[in-house]
């Protein structure tokens, strides 16, 4: 029933001082609150008997005022401490969750949806924190209160009577446990439905242009209505049990009442207790109703919190798919990157996505990766990001050290990465470029942007570097976004630059400029380029052509042309379309001629 408190015991231990203060004052206050009625009764009695004096009246008023101040202070402090604890719990869990999410890799994000994770970090945490505030309050208040009354009943009236009227208690606890379990089950479903809904909204907004262009608004509304209805249904399922708590306890307390009065009357008939005793017993039983109802409420709150905590814990306890080595090998510079008969499969994939890849890339080399859509270029290039567990067969080593034995900070410290989809954050252009190097000078930022051929574009933006991009800013074209993402990677001046089809939306000429800039600035450092436009990799030291996850052709540009395979076909085709890019008309003619012979 209180598993949630057990699961949160680390928290209560950590903040035991706060909870000790809150609960002590809470209990003390219950005693302080007995005083005022007594004081008033005292005064009225004295008036009645004609014994009230001026001094005693002033004294009573003074005591009363002091009590008001004490009650107020106590009340304020315990509330502030107790509910503050709930807020701390919320903050702590939220930051843990974020911390955890930040170390998760793609496998996790393929299994979990953003909208649902958002729901866990907001909606569920509220339910969890309720247990540490309202839950604890109800727990302490109702149990101490009912315990006090029970003891009073047993001592002052009759212990047998008290015990007997407690007969329905086991039923109460049995039924409550049952309900609690049900609430737990159903609340999880309800919260899951909420997460699904969150996700649906998120996706509808992210894909708003597509939905509008294809006039899918109504259909989308229809689908959302189904989701919203599902949330409704799941919550109604919770409500069905939720609404049972109070009436069930009412009936059972009624039963206690009946037993109490019935047996009490019998005891009176037997002259074992007095009439006055029975009347008092009756009053005490009445006083038990509130704490009993509160216990129902308590279990409800606890189980909801428990359900939400389970959802949060599910995320928190997801083990990192890619773990950092406990004793990482220290490496200064990556001299040789080596793929050794590497075969790789995505965790959710049914077949191998890379087969038997062997490659050696020395420091300063540029590796070009070509291949048609879906041939595995990205998969190959992502191996170096270490987003997945090491491959089943073969390995990827740097200076002979398997990549999984390197600390993330070492590995990622070398990398500059430009992804296929240029993801920018809703910040200024400058902040986006600076993303990898927070303290870079403005000159460095401008230099990186100029290497990425963004200088002209920058001049056209009114706010220059301070232009906001993304959701809250201007909408940049695909090519502009790619070039900013490129500048972001170039600013890091990385040991290993990884470009994954990073210039697909940039026109050929600009791409050539960028490639030039990269080549000249990156002498002595490693670059990996995956692309569809072969002109971008023709100068690479080594080019591999992938098909279905295998290297089907490899060699230098010249070797590959001689092979007359896929690479050659593509190159000719592209040449016919775009022409060679930077070698001037002269060479183009010769190349074409050469190819035609």
């Amino acid at each position: 029933m209180f598993t949630v408190l057990k699961k949160l015991s680390w928290f209560f231990r950590q903040y035991k001082g706060r909870y000790a203060i809150a609960l002590t004052l809470l209990v003390l206050l219950n005693f302080v609150e007995v005083a005022p009625p007594a004081l008033i009764g005292h005064v009225i009695d004295q008036m009645n008997r004609g014994t009230l004096t001026y001094a005693s009246m002033l004294q009573v008023i003074f005591i009363y005022l002091v009590l008001i101040v004490i009650s107020y202070l106590f009340g304020f402090i315990w509330q502030y401490q107790l509910f503050g604890g709930a807020n701390i719990l919320q903050r702590t869990l939220r930051s843990r969750l974020m911390h955890h999410l930040l170390r998760m890799t793609p496998t996790f994000y393929e299994k979990n949806r953003t909208g649902d994770l958002m729901a866990r970090a907001t909606n569920d945490l509220v339910a969890v924190s309720e247990t540490a505030g309202f839950g604890i309050l109800t727990l302490i208040d109702s149990t101490t209160y009912s315990a006090t009354i029970l003891v009073t009943m047993a001592v002052l009236v009759n212990w047998k009577l008290t015990l007997l009227s407690l007969l329905p208690m086991p039923i109460i606890s049995f039924v409550m446990t049952k309900y609690g379990k049900k609430v737990h089950e159903r609340f999880i479903l309800a919260q899951n439905a909420f997460g699904v809904m969150n996700n649906k909204v998120l996706e509808s907004i992210a894909g708003i242009r597509v939905l509008r262009a294809y006039v899918q608004e109504r259909a989308q509304e229809q689908r959302f209505a189904e989701t919203a209805h599902d949330v409704y249904q799941k919550n109604v399922d919770v409500a069905k049990i939720d609404s049972l708590f109070e009436p069930t306890i009412k009936v059972l307390v009624g039963l206690m009442y009946l037993i109490g009065i019935g047996y009490g009357a019998y005891l009176v008939f037997q002259s074992q207790i007095t009439l006055g005793g029975l009347t008092a017993f009756n009053v005490y039983l009445g006083m038990l109703i509130w704490p009993m109802l509160a216990i129902g409420e308590l279990i409800n709150t606890m189980q909801r919190g428990n359900a939400s905590l389970d959802r949060v814990t599910e995320t928190l306890s997801y083990k990192q798919d890619v773990e950092e080595p406990v004793h990482p090998v220290a490496l200064e510079t990556p001299e040789v990157i080596m793929f050794d008969k590497l075969t790789f499969r995505y965790p959710l994939s049914a077949k191998d996505n890379l087969h038997d890849i062997s490659l050696t890339i020395r420091r300063g080399d540029t590796l070009g990766i070509a291949g048609r859509v879906g041939s595995g270029k990205t998969t190959l290039i992502k191996q170096i990001l270490r987003e997945y567990e090491p491959p089943s067969t073969g390995k990827l080593t740097i200076n002979g050290v398997p990549i999984e034995e390197l600390a993330f900070s070492t590995l990622h410290g070398w990398l500059g990465y430009v992804a296929q989809e240029s993801l920018l954050f809703s910040r200024t252009i400058e902040q986006n470029v600076r993303f990898g190097v927070a303290d870079a000078s403005e000159d460095d930022v401008l230099h990186a942007l100029s290497m990425a051929s963004f200088t002209k574009d920058l001049a056209m933006l009114d706010n220059g570097l301070l232009t906001l991009v993304g959701e809250r800013g201007i909408s940049l074209s695909g090519g502009q976004k790619q070039r900013i993402a490129l500048a972001r990677a170039l600013l890091v001046d990385p040991e290993i630059l990884v470009l994954d089809d990073a210039m697909s939306a940039v026109d050929a000429r600009t791409e050539t400029h960028i490639i030039e800039a990269i080549r000249s600035s990156r002498k002595g450092r490693t670059t990996l380029i995956a692309t569809h436009r072969l002109s971008a990799i023709k100068h690479s030291n080594w080019i591999v052509v992938l098909d279905d996850g295998r290297i089907v052709e490899e060699g230098t540009h010249e070797n590959l042309l001689l092979l007359r395979g896929w690479y050659y076909d593509q190159y000719v085709r592209q040449l016919a379309q775009d022409g060679p890019t930077d070698d001037g008309p002269f060479e183009m003619q010769t190349t074409v001629k050469e190819l035609r012979t």
Partner: protein, 671 residues
């Protein structure tokens, strides 16, 4: 209309259920109040009550008790026509029962027994009589007639409890149902509004924040309908009842107690003053948190690769801490007010009460009715219970109101209704006539764009990034409308055609192909029932994607995860290409659509396009000039203006900007 009013308004949609729930609430409250009265009755009538006068009966009969060989029955159990026999009286004293012959006068007091003598006061006169102490067996016997009557009462009591429980269940359940219905309705309303809002809205507000409004803010309103409304109602009823009782008791004192009402009003005003802005900030921060989580998760691979986890964490912590600080601020306001402050108020009322009566006691002696005084204290105490209830709801009300304000704000944004129905397929004759357009109202992105695309023609737009190519498409689709000038489709100004109608026969392939969670097939058809499975397969075949997806385990039913994260950019583009073809549009727009597709696949698409272009007007935005060589019209844009127009050959012959661009791209001219 204020948010509170609109909240209530939403409640009215389910007024029947809610009123039914409130009726049930009242019944169960009444039943709850009756319960203790029955218990009291049970004790007073049947336990205390036997200490009364009993009369002899003719013999054994129901309700009669045998005492010293004769039968006696309680006076109250005699029927009117029955003759009362010889009386005896049971007296309760010294916590036991005594019997004495004859009757005792009414209103006697201070009974006590010493030895066998009962002494009592009758008026001012002390009287003594001889009594006989009953043995426990005798007492037990005297209680016997009460047992069946008590059982009846007890079952009545239990029946009442069960009744009250049933109505409590009904009330709670119905309120929860209505609350959930209201939330569902609000959510579908807000979601419907999402479809009505201009695209501009989504370009300016992060998706995470909008999500927060539709889901979290509506969630914050739930309690308003489940508990808050019910509590406010029942407390108000109780308060009215107590005020009535107070007025009946003592008009002067009751009037003083009415002072509480303006104080409560002032309270609400002050509470709002302190809590509203904090509540607002809390809701905003919550949506900021949502937005940040969303953005972080979208960019997680970049964050990892750039080793920015710690920095991102720090930024999130700042947000999380600000949120915490505001929560604590609200907590301070709530702890300083609420029942805690009601306690102070009650205390002050009682201090004033003591002072007032002491004044009368010292200066106007003999004027105090003590019975009234006791009753008054009791009622005053009771009066403050609903006040506490009421005041405790304030924070919930404020929270709901603030959340509602945010929802209603979104609902009040100017939107355009979605037009249902079919629009006849148009030819696809597109004219731009001196179109000016600006995103921000200051900087013109398009300046005086005029051109014409006849049905079945292919029009290509070229120009550097930022020259306005994509804006032309935004206007064509009416994602935005031009500041001036007109766009005509088949001669009809496009602003006169409903957006949805206009788009019914348009297809687009965006440079960022967006995929939804589902399958490859569902992403092609968008689950539109008018698109058959065959059409989906054909579309995929036509764009040459079939061979690609045939390799997948489930073929075209392969699941697509959020944002199509398991597919490459090229695969995603192919899918969105197939999508455009499956919808068989009259106007097809390709917005830098083939950037991530290899030349081989692109040529497959090109061939398919050549077939499919027949009967469609096609717009191509391209940076690879080679792909548009065969366009019927090429428009060269620069800084939002069309600087050149014509066919590939014409433009080359012109030797202008296009010529330079072609040369630059083919490398025949060094830059």
């Amino acid at each position: 209309m204020s948010s509170a009013k609109r909240l209530l308004h939403y409640g009215l949609f389910y007024k029947r259920t809610i009123f039914l729930a409130f009726a049930m609430l009242l019944i169960s409250v009444l039943a709850d109040l009756t319960g203790p009265m029955i218990a009291k009755n049970l004790i007073d009538q049947h336990i205390v009550g036997i200490a009364t006068t009993w009369y002899q009966t003719k013999g054994q009969e129901p309700d009669a008790v045998k005492y010293q060989g004769r039968w006696f029955k309680r006076g109250t159990y005699f029927l009117p026509q029955e003759k009362l026999g010889h009386p005896i009286t049971l007296v309760s004293a010294n916590q036991t029962l005594y019997v004495l012959p004859g009757r005792l006068p009414a209103n006697l007091s201070d009974e006590h027994v010493s030895g066998r003598t009962l002494t009592f006061l009758h008026g001012k006169q002390s009287v003594s009589v001889m009594v006989h102490r009953l043995t426990n067996t005798q007492i037990f016997a005297f209680y016997q007639p009460e047992v069946p009557k008590m059982l009846v009462l007890a079952s009545f009591y239990f029946g009442l409890i069960v009744l009250s429980a049933m109505f409590t269940y009904g009330q709670r359940f119905l309120l929860q149902i209505s609350a959930n219905r209201i939330l569902q309705r609000m959510r579908t309303d807000v979601f419907g509004q999402i479809a009505r809002l201009p695209v501009r809205y989504f370009d300016s507000i992060p998706a995470g924040k909008i999500v927060s409004r539709i889901t979290n803010d509506t969630e914050a309103i739930r309690e308003f309908y489940v508990t808050i409304a019910a509590n406010v109602l029942s407390s108000s009823v109780t308060m009215v009842g107590i005020y009535i009782a107070l007025f009946l008791l003592n008009r002067q004192l009751a009037l003083i107690c009415l002072l509480l009402l303006p104080i409560l009003a002032l309270w609400v005003v002050l509470y709002r003053h302190f809590a509203v802005s904090v509540n607002h900030r809390i809701r905003i921060l919550l949506s900021d948190i949502n937005a940040m989580i969303n953005e972080t998760l979208q960019g997680i691979s970049i964050i990892r690769a750039f080793h920015r986890q710690e920095r991102t964490m720090k930024e999130f912590e700042e947000l999380n801490n600000t949120f915490f600080t505001e929560q604590i601020r609200l907590l301070s306001v709530n702890s300083a007010s609420g029942w805690n402050l009601v306690g102070v108020l009650r205390g002050l009322f009682f201090v004033a009460f003591i002072a007032y009566f002491s004044f009368r006691y010292f200066h106007l002696s003999g004027m105090i009715q003590f019975g009234v005084l006791y009753a008054f204290v009791d009622y005053l105490n009771r009066l403050f219970q609903p006040v506490v209830q009421l005041v405790n709801q304030l924070s919930g009300i404020e929270q709901a109101k603030v959340a509602a304000t945010r929802i209603f704000e979104l609902l009040d944004e100017h939107g355009e209704d979605i037009e249902e129905g079919e629009h006849a397929r148009y030819q696809g004759h597109v004219q731009f006539d001196d179109v000016y357009f600006s995103y921000d109202g200051e900087n013109d992105v398009l300046r005086g764009i005029s051109f014409e695309a006849r049905p079945s023609q292919t029009v290509a737009l070229v120009g550097h990034t930022g020259s306005g190519k994509s804006s032309v498409m935004n206007l064509l689709f009416r994602f935005y409308d031009p500041q001036s000038g007109a766009i005509r489709i088949d001669g009809v100004q496009s602003t006169l055609i409903r957006r949805q109608h206009l788009r019914q026969h348009m297809g687009i392939v965006l440079q960022d192909p967006f995929l939804f969670t589902g399958t490859i097939a569902s992403n092609v058809s968008l689950d539109d029932p008018t698109i058959s499975r065959e059409q989906v397969e054909k579309a995929l075949r036509d764009v040459g994607a079939d061979r690609l997806f045939a390799k997948l385990e489930c073929g075209i039913d392969e699941p697509v995860l959020e944002n199509g994260s398991t597919l490459s950019a090229g695969q995603r583009q192919l899918i969105s290409f197939a999508r455009a073809l499956a919808f068989d549009p009259a106007i097809l727009v390709l917005d830098e659509a083939t950037s991530s597709i290899d030349t081989e696949t692109e040529s497959v698409i090109q061939q398919a396009l050549d077939v499919l272009k027949k009967g469609r007007t096609t717009f191509v935005i391209a940076h690879r000039l080679s792909t548009i060589r065969h366009a019927d019209l090429i428009l060269v844009l620069d800084h939002g203006m069309i600087v050149e127009r014509g066919t590939h050959e014409q433009l080359l012959a012109q030797g202008g900007k296009y010529f330079t661009m072609v040369q630059l791209q083919s490398g025949t001219l060094s830059a």
